[in-house]
Symmetry: D2
């Protein structure tokens, strides 16, 4: 029986890292599945489009696309169709990752298409006001990336708590029910613990897991910290 | 043993048609493979990213991506990595399809990346001057789409021959060795015959095959006409 | 003394219509100024970038840019700098017009730059959820364009009132103080009256004025209806 | 009588530098005009859109836009119309500057629109293959930017001659009559001399002039070196 998406949630973005491409994507997804089974913490993976099918075939943890285009079936050569990612086994999708930013109307359209197809939408937002705007579009989840934590090397557990709590408060005001993930500043278990204590319900991580020497060990630490800090 | 890419060539673009998504992509690819075996004419298919793996697993005809992004492995969430499409079995890629047009420098970069990875590059160009410009970038193939034939309902066999021959001449002047496909105006076998007679070495088709009631019959007609009009 | 921006507001977008390019942009702006003086209703104009200087030189009504790029001074060849539009006399700018849509993070950045330079920001939003999202970014004004009114020929005065009031309500919930303009469905004076009655504080118009045989007469009707329907 | 565009040509791109915005754009253009008159070398300026009118009003040297959009008059809010830049006095335009890159089909369309309106088109190309591709589109001029010279601090006079001559040769092969400018690596008079000796017919410069303490002195040196190295 496939494992469910539930909070606290760890969502691992494979990006276009070679360490998580092709057969290595399947291997990493299996590691994530193993940790998820052992800890009973929900871990999801977001491999590249080309790897979704094999990953979804091989593991029972939830698989996400990294992006969908705001299109319906038809003449859209080279674009990513929600129906197609769903048919090969994805149950959700990232939208508007900071590396794949979309026009506002396309974010809105992609969320609506995801909703229509039964795909869980996780929309990324890289500052406070954008987080609030995104929350107004009613996605299933918002992954907030406080600018103080993006690419600065500052981790959540070391940052001023206000950096995260202010964003959480703003998002909650606009949308009381959306699930909030912390999408930046997660390097170790302490950061996962801090992110949850500060009001988010999970984390969106990438290199900390994918580039780790021992992804199993890192994910295990993340999951255990998540379990004890809900 | 996998079938080779050779001219005359029929390249079938699956676009994001539901009729060629998921399991239906595999079915259609099998039909193309059957015709290719029966006629010994080279037929290639370009399914959606998510379907490349399954299609390449199930058939021995060459499989193309519909697009690659001009990126190297790394932090490029939601983009299409050449290494990834190659690892799941693609041997080539469309670039700059009229529905997925790129900046000039990105076309150039994508061609170079494809070359570096050993992927066959088929660059689309939707008028004469653009065809010449694209030829200067030295891709493996150029798919020319004379504007008189795009979405006008006019087919190659009915159009003034000059519509195609003028483009072929211009492309040849800039790049004597590039393979030229006719990328518009192909509805039936007569059009395939006309395209080859006018100097192209193959056709890029989509709806005429994908949306056909009997894709087998259509492809068979295309392949037979291709065989007798080299 | 320059005329002020105040509600009810009529904002005339000159687009790239030849009828409002170059000397004709100045003429149309003078017509708008004349109506504004005669009726004491605030009328603003948004000419093309190249015409802002001449228009701002010749009239005392407020002049808007049609777009600014989210950039600071520097190496941004071909982009539109807030400082530059301000120096030639613009006092505000449209952002994210449905014909010039931006990435969410660029809308956010453009609003912040406009605020920093003292330019009034009018952000366009072409449906309910986008209007709410935009309101969360705290621009000075939101121009809402209910999809039922865009390019359908249905005008505000003929549409179900709910089409406009639902959007106004949603925007107000997220941002109680933002000025709301009705940005679609305004063809005649009745539509201006309806838009104001339904809770907006002004209108964003284009072809109804620019393409009119007698823009003076049309603007006069708009202004008089605006005056009596606050 | 307005000064003509002739080779050797010095084209000064004002970018969005504050040192060349608004009144300062006019001042800098006057300095360029003074040097052009004194040396009889053709110097052109490319100010921001908002400053074209004032610059063209105040000087008689040729004025270029930094970009035009591939649009015809109509509903294109926030875009740059060729007719509009022409009406305020521009006689040419940059297209596809490395900071404002366009899709291939948009470069092609912009060149055709420029030609149709009688605007001189200067298309930028940031490596050899792109330079050849651009030359195939038949613009009036190509500004080549060898990657070895962009942002590396290496200037033309110090680089291997082959860096420039190889590109010139390739462009000439595709288009024997296009005017070729050297668009990178120009810091001082020696570089201007080297660029012309290596087969280009002029230079496209920006910061070396705009950011100079004494733009008059720098431009004078450039012009004198240009004069003696045709």
């Amino acid at each position: 029986m496939p494992l469910k998406i539930q909070t606290p949630l760890i969502l691992v973005n494979f990006k276009t890292y070679l360490e998580a491409t092709g057969r290595k994507a399947v291997e990493l997804a299996k590691t994530a599945e193993r940790v998820s089974r052992e800890t009973q913490v929900s871990i999801c993976v977001a491999p590249q489009f080309t790897d979704i099918a094999a990953v979804a075939e091989e593991v029972e943890i939830p698989v996400f696309a990294q992006h969908i285009d705001p299109i319906e079936p038809g003449s859209h050569t080279g674009y990513v169709l929600a129906d197609a990612v769903k048919e090969v086994g994805a149950v959700g999708t990232l939208i508007n990752h900071s590396e794949r930013q979309l026009r506002l109307s396309d974010i809105d359209a992609a969320i609506k298409i995801a909703r229509g197809k039964g795909l869980v939408s996780v929309v990324c937002a890289n500052n406070q006001s954008i987080s609030a705007a995104v929350a107004a579009l009613k996605p299933d989840m918002v992954a907030v990336e406080p600018p103080e934590l993006i690419g600065t090397g500052v981790s959540v557990s070391k940052a001023q708590p206000e950096v995260v709590t202010a964003t959480v408060r703003l998002v909650r005001k606009v949308n009381p029910t959306v699930t909030i993930l912390c999408g930046a500043g997660i390097s170790n278990g302490e950061d996962v613990a801090a992110a949850l204590k500060l009001g988010t319900q999970g984390v969106l991580v990438a290199s900390a897991v994918v580039k780790a020497k021992d992804p199993y060990r890192v994910l295990l630490e993340f999951a255990e910290k998540a379990k004890t800090n809900i």
